[in-house]
Amino acid sequence: MSMEVDKYIASGILELYVAGALTPEQNLEVQHYALQYPEIQKEIEAIELAILKLTASVSPKMPENGFEKIKAELNNTIQFTPVQSKRKALWTPYLGWAASIILAIGLFWLYSENRNLKSEIEISSQDKLRLEETLSNTQEAIVRKESLLEQLRDQNVTVITLGGQTVSPSSYAKAYWNREDSKVIIDAQGLPEPPAGYTYQVWSLKLDPLTPTSIGLLNDFSGENDKLFVLENPNTSEAFGITLEPDGGSESPTLEQLYTLGAVGR
């Protein structure tokens, strides 16, 4: 797979990326390319630098102790203003006492009402923040899943079913291999959790003679909820196999620990 990096840079998409004017899906795409091509990463940083200069040039400078003031506020988000009474003009001592007791009760009542309201507001704004966060996480999850789904549905994808082997006959897995993109998505839903200290390793195999080439590890198996793993596979594979290896993977597959295997159909 090759991409025309120059053309991509010249398209102006990176300028939009820095502006935050792209959709979350496009953001992910730009990041994907930036990781792959250092020129793109460098260009993004250069564009950002220009915008940094520009936005700073119209700034009323912040005061010297600007951050001190912020720091002082970071811990105490809820602040109550104490309610005070300074009334003194009383008609007669008795009336004055009575009035001030009533006033004190009234003020106390107002104060506690006020405090309740404030804490209710605080709670609902926290709820709102939490909901907003959940929403944005859900949206991201959807974008990720949509992009995976799109990759699975690509017409260049060959699906290979990997069946369970002697060590674990009930295991299975699927490989979605896109030859155009040199990518394999492994669906490892049908594999048991690897024991501590071990990781599954995926192999591309040539059959005659049997030549295994490692194409990657299924890292963080338990953390990956969907059990979908994207790996690079530039090989002309004739079969795929998954073995259990010590963490970090092995040079060549431990065949006694071959969990699943499947040949690429025509």
């Binding site: 300028e15 990326y17 935050g20 200069k53 520009l54 936005t55 119209v58 009323p60």
Partner: protein, 175 residues
Amino acid sequence: MELDSLIQQFQKKDKTAFATLYQMYADNICGVINVILKDPERSQELCHDVFIKIWEKSDQYDTSKGRFFTWIINIARNTAIDELRSKSHKNQKKNLSVETLVGIYENSEDLNGKIDTIGLQSLLKGLKDKCILLIDLLYFKGFTQKEVAKELKTPIGTIKTRLRSCISEIRKNMA
């Protein structure tokens, strides 16, 4: 990378990392707010508020939202725009006076003498009004690409290539 680990520390609520990010970006946050509000004193206050928000929302940032700078500048813009609306300007985003940056540039409007427009002048030297307007909409007003296309009645493709050449001119002016 250094910025990445700084951001990670900040997300773990490390105040020293936050102080560094403040030093890095306070002027940018303040600048964007000031272009929208044209009120240096109020902009400084809002800038302060924006950093408190950034701290409170720190765990909401991840790279799928774009660059860290893009994320915080977006918070700053929204805060400034909310402020304008709350002042009963009742404007929708598209109705904000469109030419704030152009105005500051052309009239060297000195905003009570609190900002030095020489820096701005030299960065925007030789840029067409079209360019300045486009930069204003995208970086200072937070328009999406669709909104810009609609506002300028221009196809997105044209906007992208124009934007590319506008930013290139600024980069030349920086050199």
